[in-house]
Every structure is written in structure tokens, then in C-alpha cells.
């Protein structure tokens, strides 16, 4: 599939030639430099941007041929942040997650709905915070509330747009723990992550998105330059080329984790950007 910009000038593909799949119980981490089109790709999966060519399908059915309610029962989307009405409580927010399973007019939750909502709150550790207003929550709590709302949808797939952005270490690990738990429940998860170390820990598959400057085009269009298991994708030469940084690879024997530490901006890329301007 591809996404084109709508501009008066000639159409330029923001991101093109993507071919990717996600299975239930699988975690797909989407990585790449800022502006490489990760969010565009995510919005495409979330049925918020229609691809200019190509298709996205679930079980062989094109998502744009699906009823929007049916789609919402299959796929939940967790935005990076939410400009919520401040007086809304966590409970009220998570209850709205039941919407795709309700009548269009009814605000009432059935007993089963209530059970689903409280289990979603419980899984995200929010049971005690149900009555709290959203503007009283910390960043990590707010992110968990958004995930709980997605869980209340009882989806088969959850898409997360940078769920760890703006969170400190502890909250990042909390989100990662929730993702691991969802994976065990056979929910397929696609998430944008910036931290290579977090990706390496939870992802079954990493898609590396990056720009590829083509001759004759002013704006580089992006594509998936590599996809596969963390071992296959997180390689020194590839990362250096895509992010233009020098990385150190460290093995921590205590936790038995491979750690990636950005050291410096790569010299090649500085020359490259200088020659471009």
C-alpha cells in the first residue's frame, strides 16, 4: 500500500511499497527516524487514512469495505495522547470503549459490558482510579486509561501510537508489561516505539521504516527498509544507515539482554546533509 500527499503540485507518496502482516498474539514494533511516516502507516492500519493504492485487510476482507462498527470490534487504536474533556472520569472513558458493542442510542451498559469494563480496568491496574478525573492522572496513568478503553472494545488487534512517549522509565516498563500480557491473550499488537531496547524485548517482528531518496523527487518517500525478528533487523550497519548514529552494543549478562546505546551522530550523515544543502 502507499500513501500520497494531497497537494496542488504533483502527488508525492509519503510512504510506499509496504507489505506487512500481523498475526494474533504477535507484537509488531514499527521503528524509524522522525518524519519517516510511521504515524501515517499507523493511521492507515487504524482506518483513519485511506491508502491511495493497495489494500489493508483483516482475514482477507478489505478494511475499507467493512462497516466502521465491525472494524472497531476487531481493531482498537490507542492514540499517543488524548485531548479529553477534563471532567471525564477514568470509568466514563473506559465505558466508551464498549461503544462498538452497543446500540447507537443506548448509553446503558449491560451486565456483561460492566464486567468487561471492570476487567479492562483491572488489567491496566486502574481499578482504584476509576473515579478519578482524567486531568488528575499522571502521564503513565493516562496512557493506561487509554489502553483500558481499547481493551473494553474486546478487539483482536490493538494499534498503539508511541505508547511510551513522554513517560519515564518506570511507566515505560509498565506499558511494556501490559503489552506482554495482551500478547499472551492472543491479541495482535502493532506499536510505534522509539526505544530499540524496548522493541528488542517485546517485539516478535520489527519493521524499520525509513526514507529512500529517489532521483527527481523533492521529498523522499519512505518504505519499510527491513522487517523481521529483532535479531534480524537490529543490526549495527542497518541502524547506522537508517538513524545516522554510531551505536554501541552491550550485552548485560545480569538480565541477559542486548542493549543498544546511541553514542554519537555519524560523520557520514553530517557530510551527507551538508552536501544536500
Amino acid at each position: 500500500m502507499s500513501y500520497a500527499t494531497k497537494s496542488n503540485a504533483q502527488a508525492v507518496n509519503i510512504i510506499e511499497h509496504i507489505n506487512i502482516s500481523l498475526e494474533p498474539g504477535q507484537v509488531l514494533a514499527i521503528q524509524g527516524p522522525n518524519g519517516s511516516g510511521k504515524s501515517t502507516m499507523m493511521k492507515g492500519l487504524a482506518r483513519q487514512l485511506k491508502p491511495s493504492c493497495g489494500t489493508i485487510s483483516i482475514d482477507g476482507q478489505n478494511i475499507w469495505n467493512m462497516n466502521i462498527v465491525d472494524f472497531a470490534r476487531q481493531v482498537a487504536y490507542v492514540p499517543q495522547s488524548l485531548e479529553t474533556p477534563n471532567e471525564m472520569t477514568v470509568n466514563e472513558l473506559v465505558r466508551l470503549g464498549r461503544n462498538p458493542h452497543q446500540n447507537w442510542w443506548s448509553n446503558q451498559l449491560s451486565k456483561a459490558d460492566v464486567a468487561t469494563v471492570s476487567s479492562a480496568l483491572d488489567r491496566c491496574g486502574l481499578t482504584r482510579l476509576g473515579q478519578k478525573k482524567l486531568n488528575e492522572l499522571s502521564g503513565g496513568e493516562k496512557q493506561r486509561a487509554l489502553i483500558a478503553m481499547a481493551l473494553a472494545q474486546e478487539p483482536h488487534f490493538i494499534l498503539m501510537d508511541e505508547p511510551t512517549a513522554n513517560l519515564d522509565f518506570r511507566y515505560q516498563l509498565e506499558v511494556i508489561a501490559i503489552i506482554k500480557e495482551l500478547k499472551e491473550q492472543k491479541i495482535g499488537i502493532a506499536t510505534i516505539l522509539h526505544d530499540l531496547n524496548l522493541s528488542a524485548r517485546i517485539a516478535d517482528k520489527i519493521a524499520l521504516v525509513a526514507g529512500s531518496q529517489t532521483a527527481g523527487s523533492q521529498i523522499a518517500s519512505s518504505t519499510i527498509v527491513a522487517q523481521g525478528t529483532p535479531q534480524e533487523v537490529l543490526k549495527e550497519d542497518l541502524l547506522r544507515a537508517v538513524f545516522a548514529v554510531e551505536l554501541a552494543f552491550v550485552h548485560d549478562s545480569k538480565s541477559n539482554l542486548d542493549l543498544y546505546v546511541p553514542i554519537s551522530i555519524s560523520i557520514d550523515s553530517e557530510n551527507k546533509s551538508a552536501s544536500q544543502t
Binding site: 487504524a46 482506518r47 483513519q48 466502521i68 462498527v69 472494524f71 472497531a72 470490534r73 481493531v75 482498537a76 487504536y77 492514540p79 488524548l82 485531548e83 479529553t84 474533556p85 471532567e87 471525564m88 472513558l93 466508551l96 470503549g97 461503544n99 462498538p100 452497543q102 447507537w104 442510542w105 443506548s106 448509553n107 478503553m149 472494545q153
Partner: protein, 330 residues
């Protein structure tokens, strides 16, 4: 919460009764109520109460209810507290529609329809500007487009009036524009109220959609809401309400701004509760303003729109200055 709501209803009934009793001819409350329910008694009092004050009182009630509910819906759609049918130019569009209907000599039953056509055209115009080139609605653009549209609409009405209308017609139109509800009779009230009722029913039926839209368009759509369709239906209801109010009383501003704000402060949350409380608060505001309009200077009457502007204008300035940070951050 329940107590507050009962108090609101009692207050509405009380101010209706005061409106019924006070005026050039003062009637005792008990006598006024008796007059309402039996045809006998002093026929002069009967004529004043049933023939003049009752339709006027109900007009004020409907205008307040419609404008406040419309304001609530527009605020929910734009996700900003500063939206209101008057400030966004919807009322002006409806006024052009009414002026056309009057100048083309359509009968009064078709006036609300013309008002709706004018109002919905204006709302599409303003919405397309406010949404242009960005995510969601820009409040600054919304209000500026409203101002621009209102001045063009005012100019169009004046132009049409001076070119095509007789002097008598021009005078009538001018008085109506200022926001007057004097001399409203049953024949004008009943057909318009049907439009208002449809708007109110749609608004209450869309409570859940309003709740979801409060989360923003992206999230609402990911929860299975057909965002475009819901917005169109809610906008139509808001315009229907505003234009029915304009058809009845001309340009009465700020009710849709003040009433939802007061109601949010005073009563609890929940879309349906807020719709009800905003509506009643708006009705009380207009009833109160009309009472002042009729009684402040004995023997003559102030236009309702003028009084509402005196009350609502400063309130708008207060809201604007207290939410300036919000406007900037959007």
C-alpha cells in the same frame, strides 16, 4: 443533583408566572392562573393574559430553549466553549433566509424553513473555514469567520430591504432583526415550535454520539462512530434550533453562549442532563430579559436582542479573557 434540577424547573415555572402577571396591566398571580384555565371573568384581563402574554411567554421560552440547546450542540461539535449560533454567524444566515421569505412574500409558515436554509448554508461556510488546513476546529477562525459572515449578512439584508421592500416592510424587518418578540401570536408560534421540537428530539437522541465526539474525531472513529455523519446530523439539529429561534425573534445573541456555561457550572455532567439544564437556563434568561424589556421603561418596550446583548456581551468578554490561553494553544 436531583434537588438542583427540581429547583431549576420550579424557578422556570415561577418566572413564567411573573411574566404572565407583570406589565402595563398588573394581574394577581392567582387571578392570572384562574384566567388561564377558565374562559369566564373579566374579558379585558382574559385578552391580555391569553391573547398577548401567554403566546409571548411561550415564544420567549421556546427561543431561550432553542438558542441554548443550539449553543450547547455547537460547543460540543467545535469542542470549545465560545461557540454560539450568534457568534458563529448561523443566526445571521438564518436572518438572511427570513428576510428573503418576507420580501418574496411567502406565508409565515414557510419562514422557519427559509431560516433553516440560510442557517445551514452559513454553518457549512463557517465550518469549512474553521476546519481548513488543520486538525479539528480552529476557534479563532470559527469566530472570525462568524464575524465576517454576520457583516456580509447584515449588508445583504439592508441591501435587499432598501431595494425591494416598501418602507413599512423595512420597518417591520428592522424591528424583527433587533430581536423583538412582541405581537407573536399562536399562528406564528405553533408551526415554528414543530421545527424546534425536531431539533430537540435529534439533540437528545444524539447524546451518545456527543459523548464520543468529545474524545476527538480520531478516537471517536476508532470507537466505531461514523464521525462525518454524526457531525452532520448534530450540526443540522443545532441549525434547526437556532433558525427556529431566529424565525420567531430575530437576532437574539449570547443565549447560546451564556446558558450552557451557567448550566455547566451549576449542574452536574452528562450530556442529556446538560441538554435539559442548558435549555431551561436559556429559557429563564430570555424570559427574564423579556420581562425587563417590557417593564424597565413603562409605556414603551426595549428590543429583546438589545437587552440580551447588554447581559451577554460582557459575559462573552469575560469568557474570552479567561480562556485566552486555550484559544492560543489550539
Amino acid at each position: 443533583m436531583f434537588v438542583k434540577f427540581i429547583a431549576l424547573i420550579l424557578f422556570t415555572v415561577a418566572i413564567m408566572l411573573v411574566n404572565l402577571c407583570l406589565g402595563d396591566l398588573t394581574v394577581a398571580p392567582l387571578e392570572a392562573i384562574q384566567t388561564l384555565f377558565n374562559n369566564g371573568g373579566n374579558s379585558e384581563i382574559h385578552d391580555v393574559i391569553v391573547g398577548i402574554r401567554l403566546p409571548r411567554l411561550l415564544t420567549a421560552f421556546v427561543v431561550g430553549l432553542a438558542l441554548a440547546t443550539s449553543g450547547y450542540l455547537l460547543q460540543a461539535l467545535s469542542r470549545n466553549d465560545l461557540a454560539d449560533p450568534y457568534l458563529t454567524g448561523v443566526s445571521s444566515g438564518a436572518a438572511v433566509g427570513v428576510a428573503c421569505a418576507m420580501l418574496l412574500k411567502f406565508d409565515f409558515q414557510s419562514i422557519p424553513f427559509f431560516a433553516f436554509v440560510g442557517g445551514i448554508t452559513a454553518s457549512f461556510f463557517v465550518a469549512s473555514i474553521a476546519r481548513g488546513g488543520g486538525h479539528g476546529v480552529s476557534v479563532a477562525k470559527l469566530l472570525l469567520a462568524g464575524i465576517a459572515l454576520s457583516s456580509v449578512a447584515g449588508a445583504l439584508i439592508t441591501l435587499a430591504m432598501t431595494t425591494f421592500g416598501t418602507q413599512l416592510m423595512a420597518q417591520g424587518l428592522y424591528l424583527w432583526l433587533l430581536g423583538g418578540i412582541s405581537g407573536r401570536n399562536w399562528q406564528e408560534l405553533v408551526p415554528t415550535v414543530c421545527y424546534t421540537a425536531v431539533g430537540l428530539i435529534v439533540a437528545f437522541a444524539a447524546a451518545k454520539q456527543l459523548n464520543l465526539l468529545a474524545l476527538g474525531e480520531e478516537t471517536a472513529s476508532s470507537l466505531g462512530l461514523n464521525v462525518g455523519r454524526s457531525q452532520l446530523i448534530i450540526l443540522s439539529a443545532a441549525v434547526l434550533l437556532a433558525s427556529s429561534a431566529v424565525a420567531l425573534s430575530g437576532m437574539v445573541g449570547f443565549v447560546g453562549l451564556v446558558a450552557p456555561h451557567l448550566s455547566r457550572r451549576l449542574f452536574g455532567r452528562g450530556v442529556r442532563l446538560q441538554l435539559l439544564c442548558s435549555g431551561l437556563t436559556g429559557a429563564i434568561l430570555v424570559l427574564f430579559s423579556d420581562l425587563l424589556a417590557r417593564t424597565l421603561s413603562p409605556g414603551q418596550e426595549l428590543p429583546l436582542g438589545t437587552l440580551m446583548a447588554l447581559i451577554g456581551g460582557p459575559f462573552f468578554i469575560y469568557l474570552l479573557s479567561s480562556s485566552l490561553d486555550q484559544v492560543h494553544s489550539h
